[in-house]
Structures are given as structure tokens and as C-alpha cells.
């Protein structure tokens, strides 16, 4: 099949009858542009409402954008989505590395998997050649072993492998999907969906490359964009001064991170950690994704635990979240979770939950197979990771997610449950940040709230404020948009803008972190989106503007809301844990907590601003009409 520059190509594989179909994304392009938006539309069209997320009728979609696998900076990020086994709603998570670019080089922007392999299988894609193959010999291997074994077997070290570990095989509801280097697409249980389809791995090799509508124009734009990034303060901060993780440990922690099961805003031992020494001793190099100048991850090798790569979330999940102050033990836990293929945030959160229950006397060691869940108990942390991945003993309950586990442990356990739409929230001090909290209430596990609302955190700390406040006023009509401590309409508007900004990179196949990092240091808050529109235009020959990208992002938000509405989601699900409405005992924000009534009023304003019903929290038919979605999405 000849590839067009103006559209992407969807590869649809039915694992049950092993049929393969190819469809251009052309029909989707005008409204949805590409990437995650096309993926969500595929789910809207092909996924029947009400199906079992762990049954053969669920559909797992990998989404590249039309910039994926090109010279555009950070063009190696992939979205993966399906109905989530955590909550039955739309599940989505994003991963990096080199697999997405390889899939694009093989010719595809999307891979949609339906059915089940019945017996263990893996999918092999080499350009036009697509084959479902026996994987009985791989079943039971961890994610590292699977990649090594497949590359050896295929006699090609350049094959990019995605795989699930024992956690995915055992359909642990928060299992993730891992790349060769062990970074995991963690959130929302996409690895469990893969496991339910008996799909062990997806091995991809592509040598067709990406053709571009205007290659000379694209080259110039890509050169300039890389240059801009490399000359930006964000690049300097990331690459030359200190690794990101340093800033997490040293600069931000006290006003930003939540410890344990959202129990405190401060933990003395955390401030005494010495991550610099750990990295000086064990970091092999920095690492990152395809075509990215930022390389924000750390490739670390610790004797006895082994090598792997990690960004900020795993560090927090196996340090502050589980009250562990031993960096070597943290690394052991990260590697174990990556090898088993578990979401670190959910795993750390589940262990933190057990630790609180144990401390309060709600559970005893007898509930956890004789393991005392004392806070920070290294051996308990590691054993729980193992038990969860293998659904062994108490792991059988925990593998169902903390919400179901709390139900199993009884009413008292439910009092300690911290959960947003069934997910353990991101590890931030939501008590002090209203915008981030609104984003968390609406979005659940996605998007990462601080990409949009990190300004609140920055403004709560020492440092220059004038530029940011002027920007807030210019863009949203009031400084309140960025300042923490209010529930203003300006803040609601800022949140909506942030939701759109964070989806544009997903639509194009680039990285939110890089774009957001650049915008932060730019004089024009939305500057980078012009660049992306230009790159898209040169790549596809379709005209595109910043406004066009924002319109597509708004359509995507509404489409995904309709997708969730079919599964029974409404305003009631946009609820935050009770704990966010109580102040932390310690930390710089200890006097602050969200106000329930104000938060509900803010949600009213959010729904109104979006054109959604204040009663149901769902898009009104007029809104869908205005977005051009009336014919493609059923009003709810």
C-alpha cells in the first residue's frame, strides 16, 4: 500500500481470526487531525459500550501522530488507549522510547488490536509484513527478558519491542506495557488489557520511513525548532545544569509533594536524601526518547538490582509515597516493577494505603500473608510488588486496584482510600492548589495536572512573579488564574486551556514535557503551538494553525467525555478524595485545604464554560453541534 503524506495509516489486527486491515486516517483528518484524537474516535466507532475491559471485545489502540518518527523534536511519544480495567472508563497512557518511531517507519500511525489470541501470541510487524505468532515460549518472562529473547530470536537488535510482564499476563488491573529499556506505559491498566488478549509482545521493525509533503520546508522548520529548543533556558536547566530529578528532590519537594497515602506535606527524612551521590555513583547516562533534545530520564545501573531508566514518578512512588528513605531499595523496587510490568504510581499508592491501614490497626500482618506493613519496611515493599504482579496471597485482592481492595478490607479501610475515578492520584499537594485539583477531578489519571497548573506551585514558592502574573492577566483576565488560593472563573479558564494544551502534543505525536518546558520559558505562552502547526503543515500538506490545533483538542476533550458518558460517567465521578479537603499536618502548605462547596461551585463554572450540563457534567447537544461533532458523536 502506497503511503500518502497527507494522512496516517491505521493497522487493524483482529487477534481472534488473525485478519489484518489497513485504513487511511483521511476521513478523520479535518475534525481530529491525528494521534490520540483519531485513536479515541476509533474507540468511539468500534468499541461497544458496556463490554468487559478484560474481555476480547475491548480494543487496544496505539496512537502515533503525523509528526511521529520525523525530525520534529520529541517525535517518539505514543499514546495507548482502551477501555480501562481500573474503572471501566476511557483509559489512556503515554510512553516514550523508540517503539513509536519504529512503527511509523514501518508505515503506520495507528495500531488497533481487537479480539484475543486465545493462547499466548506476539505480533510481528516488519513494514508490510504483519503476523500473529506463537508466544508460548515467552509467556512468564519478565519485560526485559522478553525483549532480549525476541531480538535474539529475530536476529535483529534494531527491532523495537513492547511487552507485558507477569503483571500484565495475570491481568493485574494496573499492569503497564514496557519498552526495551524498561520504561513502562503505566497508568490505567493497558498492560492488563494486553494480557487479557494473550498478547505478550509487539515487535516492530520499519525501514519505509516517513515521506513529507514539503521535505525542504520541513527540514528548515525542524532545524529552527531544534535550535530554538537548544537555546532555551528549559534546555539549559534540563541538560546542562541539573537533572530534573534534582529539582524534584531539592527545590520543589516541600511545597509540592504529598507523602505516604496523602498523609503529610512534609517528611523530614526526604529532605536528608542525597540523590546527587546516588546519581554520581550509579548513573550510566541520561536517556530519553526518539529525536528528543531533552533526554529527561536517567539510565541507572545499581549492582544487584540492575539497569533501567526512570523519570520522576517512579522515584516518588518508591520513596516518599511508601516512606522509604533508602535510594538503593528504591531502585530495586523500580526495577522489579518495571520487569513485572506494573504502574509504579498505583503500586506505590496501594502499598502506602496498606501501610496506613496497618498503622491504624485496620489490618494486621495476618491480612497481608504475615508481612507487617510498617511504614518504610523495605522487605514489605518488595514482597508486595512481587505478590501483586503474581496475584499471590493478598496480591489477589490488591491486583484488583485499591478501590476494590478497600471494599474487601471493609468500611474502615474505605475511610483511608485515596482515589480519583479508581486511580491513585498524582503525588502533589492538591490541598493547596485549586486549579490542579479541578484538573485532577475532571481528568483522573490523565492528563498530568501540573503540566497545566504547575504555575500555581511556582507562584507559591519564592522567585520572580511579575512575568507570570502579567501573563495570567493578559490571557485569562486576572492574576487569579495562576495564583493559588482561589476558585475564580479565570482559573477555570486557565484549566480548560491547560487541558487543551496538554492534548495537542498527543494529537501530533510529540512530547508535552518538551513543549511545555519550552513554553514556560518563552515570552509567548502559546508560542510553540505555532511551530507545531507549521511542522504539521509541511509534513502533511494540510493547512493548520495554532487555533486549529486548539479546536481539535477541544473536540478531543468532548469526544472522550462522550466516550465515558456511554460507560455511565457523569458529574458524580468528578469527585476528589475527602483527604484533599483537610489540611496536611506538616509542610509549608499545612494551613491550606480545599473547600468542598467552593470546589463544587468551581465545577459548575467549569461545566458552564465548556458548554456542558451543570447537572450531568456532560456535553450539551448544542456544544457538540458547535464543535462539528453533532453527526459523529451521539448527544448524551
Amino acid at each position: 500500500m502506497a503511503l500518502k503524506t497527507s494522512e496516517g495509516l491505521i493497522l487493524k489486527v483482529n487477534l481472534t481470526d488473525r485478519t489484518v486491515r489497513r485504513e487511511g486516517t483521511g476521513p478523520y483528518a479535518d475534525l481530529f487531525v491525528g494521534g490520540r484524537a483519531v485513536g479515541s474516535k476509533i474507540l468511539y466507532d468500534d468499541l461497544r459500550p458496556g463490554v468487559d475491559p478484560l474481555g476480547p471485545s475491548n480494543i487496544l489502540v496505539f496512537n502515533n501522530g503525523l509528526l511521529s518518527g520525523t525530525a520534529a523534536p520529541s517525535s517518539g511519544r505514543v499514546d495507548v488507549s482502551a477501555k480501562s480495567p481500573m474503572n471501566g472508563f476511557h483509559g489512556v497512557t503515554n510512553f516514550g522510547g523508540f517503539w513509536g518511531a519504529e512503527l511509523r517507519h514501518a508505515g503506520y500511525t495507528h495500531l488497533a488490536l481487537s479480539g484475543t489470541g486465545n493462547a499466548p501470541v506476539y505480533l510481528f510487524i516488519e513494514n508490510d509484513h504483519v503476523e500473529v505468532r506463537d508466544a508460548r515460549h515467552l509467556w512468564g518472562l519478565d519485560t526485559y527478558e522478553t525483549a532480549v529473547r525476541l531480538r535474539r530470536e529475530l536476529r535483529d537488535q534494531d527491532v523495537q519491542v513492547l511487552s507485558i510482564g507477569p503483571a500484565g499476563e495475570n491481568q493485574v488491573r494496573f499492569a503497564g506495557i514496557a519498552t526495551n529499556l524498561g520504561n513502562v506505559a503505566g497508568r490505567t491498566g493497558m498492560g492488563a488489557v494486553m494480557g487479557s488478549k494473550k498478547l505478550k509482545a509487539i515487535a516492530v521493525r520499519g525501514t519505509r520511513g516517513v515521506d513529507l509533503a514539503d521535505p525542504k520546508g520541513f527540514l528548515d522548520l525542524a532545524r529552527n525548532t531544534h535550535k530554538l529548543l537548544r537555546e532555551s533556558p528549559a534546555f539549559e536547566e534540563n541538560n546542562r545544569v541539573k537533572p530534573l530529578t534534582d529539582s524534584m528532590f531539592n527545590k520543589l519537594y516541600e511545597g509540592m509533594l504529598a507523602f505516604g497515602n496523602y498523609e503529610d506535606g512534609r517528611w523530614e527524612k526526604f529532605s536528608r536524601l542525597e540523590p546527587e551521590k546516588f546519581f554520581a555513583r550509579h548513573q550510566v547516562r541520561r536517556a530519553g526518547c526518539f529525536a528528543c533534545p531533552m533526554q529527561c530520564m536517567h539510565l541507572v545501573d545499581v549492582p544487584a538490582s540492575g539497569y533501567g531508566i526512570a523519570f520522576c514518578s517512579p522515584f516518588m512512588s518508591f520513596l516518599g509515597t511508601v516512606w522509604n528513605d533508602d535510594l538503593t531499595a528504591m531502585w530495586e523496587a523500580i526495577i522489579l516493577a518495571n520487569r513485572y510490568g506494573l504502574d509504579v504510581i498505583e503500586t506505590g499508592g496501594t502499598i502506602a494505603f496498606l501501610m496506613e491501614l496497618y498503622q491504624k490497626g485496620v489490618i494486621q500482618a495476618s491480612h497481608t500473608d504475615g508481612i507487617p506493613m510498617e511504614k518504610g519496611n523495605r522487605s514489605a515493599i518488595l514482597q508486595m510488588i512481587h505478590k501483586i504482579a503474581h496475584r499471590e496471597g493478598v496480591g489477589e485482592i490488591l491486583a484488583q486496584g485499591s478501590l476494590r481492595a478497600a471494599e474487601a478490607f471493609g468500611d474502615k479501610a474505605l475511610d483511608s482510600l485515596v482515589s480519583v475515578k479508581g486511580h491513585f492520584p498524582h503525588g502533589y499537594q492538591f490541598t493547596a492548589f485549586e486549579g490542579a485539583s479541578l484538573m485532577q477531578a475532571i481528568g483522573g489519571a490523565d492528563p498530568f495536572p501540573t503540566y497545566g497548573t504547575g504555575v500555581e506551585i511556582r507562584l507559591s514558592m519564592p522567585g520572580p512573579k511579575e512575568k507570570l502574573l502579567a501573563e495570567a492577566k493578559a490571557l485569562f483576565g486576572s492574576e487569579d488564574a495562576y495564583l493559588p488560593g482561589n476558585y475564580s472563573l479565570a482559573k477555570v479558564r486557565m484549566v480548560i486551556d491547560a487541558e487543551h494544551r496538554s492534548r495537542i502534543p498527543d494529537i501530533l505525536g510529540v512530547c508535552i514535557y518538551v513543549i511545555d518546558g519550552y513554553n514556560k520559558s518563552s515570552t509567548d505562552y502559546h508560542f510553540f503551538y505555532d511551530r507545531l502547526a507549521d511542522l504539521y503543515e509541511a509534513a502533511t500538506g494540510r493547512s493548520m494553525t495554532r487555533q486549529g490545533l486548539f479546536a481539535a483538542a477541544e473536540r478531543l476533550v468532548n469526544l472522550e467525555r462522550c466516550l465515558d458518558a456511554r460507560e455511565g460517567l457523569n458529574r458524580k465521578a468528578d469527585r476528589l478524595p475527602e483527604r484533599f479537603f483537610r489540611p496536611f499536618p506538616g509542610g509549608v502548605n499545612k494551613d491550606k485545604a480545599l473547600n468542598m462547596e467552593m470546589m463544587e461551585n468551581m465545577k459548575d463554572a467549569y461545566y458552564r464554560e465548556r458548554g456542558w450540563s451543570v447537572d450531568t457534567g456532560l456535553p450539551m447537544p448544542e456544544k457538540l453541534q458547535a464543535l462539528g461533532l453533532a453527526d459523529v458523536v451521539a448527544p448524551v
Binding site: 523508540f98 534494531d158 525501514t207 513529507l212 550510566v284 530519553g288 526518539f290 545501573d301
Partner: protein, 163 residues
């Protein structure tokens, strides 16, 4: 004095930006399979080594070519193939000890690094300085300076103690 590419494998983070700019500027596509430079990842992708034509002084590709299609560009010093003379036999590819020659299956012709006519895109694009474009007679000096910088950094605690 001719310049050539100087590779620092220890600085390479494996992002493959070089491959993208190389293939885009030479073939109008983003395709690592058609790039003149490739990053080889070793030991389960832990170590990364950019590999390209070494522009050998005694070039095996030149000797191997049965049709005298390969010769040195006097201005840039790059070994280049005259497309009209290339018969696509790939003898040069077999002869090259470094894999510096590739075969373009769409054009049925061999390719290798032409140093972008003296402005190599890969060196320009690499954010980490893993590929440099340096005068051949100063390459050793560049490597020395790099080694000394590392040495000085290692000595820093001792030097500040002495101060």
C-alpha cells in the same frame, strides 16, 4: 586541511536526531534505513555508538569498486559515488570494515556520508556534541582536551583542598 567527523561515543545519548536530519537532507524522507549515520545500540541499548563512513585514507570501497564509481571529493575529502557509474553491485559495502556504506533499496544504489558538502547536518543537529566536524590534524588534540577536562573534574576536590 580536510575536516572529517569525529565521534565521541561516550557523549551519545542515543536520541537519533542525527539519523533524522541526515536522511531528511539526503533523501527528502525521515528514514533511518536511508541515513548515512546510524546509532548502534549495544548491551540492551545501554551504550550508544554513532557509526558512519570513516572517510579512510586508503579506502577499501574505492579499491573494491569494479566500475571506478567511487572517488574522493577533493574539496571535502569525502568518498563519493558517481550515481551514473554505480552498478549497484554492493562490492564496496562488502569491503567496508565499518558498515560506512549502505544500500538504498528504493534507488538501487549504494550511499555513504558525503559530509553534506562541508556542512554536516548530523554534527549541527547533535545536542550533545557526540559528533563533531573537525580538521583531521587536530582531532587528537580535541580528544586530548576532552580527556583533560574529565581529568580536571576528577581532580577538583583535591585542587580545592590544596587551595
Amino acid at each position: 586541511m580536510a575536516k572529517s567527523l569525529l565521534i565521541y561515543p561516550e557523549k551519545c545519548l542515543g536520541c537519533r536526531i542525527c539519523e533524522m536530519f541526515c536522511s531528511l537532507s539526503h533523501t527528502d524522507t525521515c528514514n533511518p534505513a536511508r541515513a548515512r549515520v546510524n546509532i548502534l545500540k549495544m548491551d540492551h541499548d545501554v551504550h550508544c555508538v554513532p557509526m558512519t563512513c570513516q572517510q579512510c585514507a586508503e579506502a577499501p570501497c574505492e579499491s573494491a569498486c569494479p566500475n571506478r564509481a567511487i572517488h574522493r571529493n577533493e574539496r571535502t575529502g569525502a568518498m563519493q559515488t558517481i550515481p551514473s557509474l554505480c552498478i549497484g553491485c554492493r562490492a564496496c559495502l562488502f569491503a567496508c570494515p565499518f558498515g560506512g556504506t549502505g544500500f538504498d533499496s528504493s534507488e538501487k544504489i549504494v550511499f555513504r556520508c558525503d559530509l553534506c558538502e562541508g556542512e554536516p547536518r548530523c554534527a549541527e543537529a547533535c545536542p550533545y556534541g557526540a559528533i563533531a566536524y573537525v580538521e583531521e590534524d587536530r582531532q587528537g588534540q580535541h580528544k586530548k582536551r576532552d580527556a583533560v577536562e574529565k581529568f580536571m573534574a576528577a581532580l577538583e576536590p583535591l585542587r580545592s583542598a590544596a587551595r
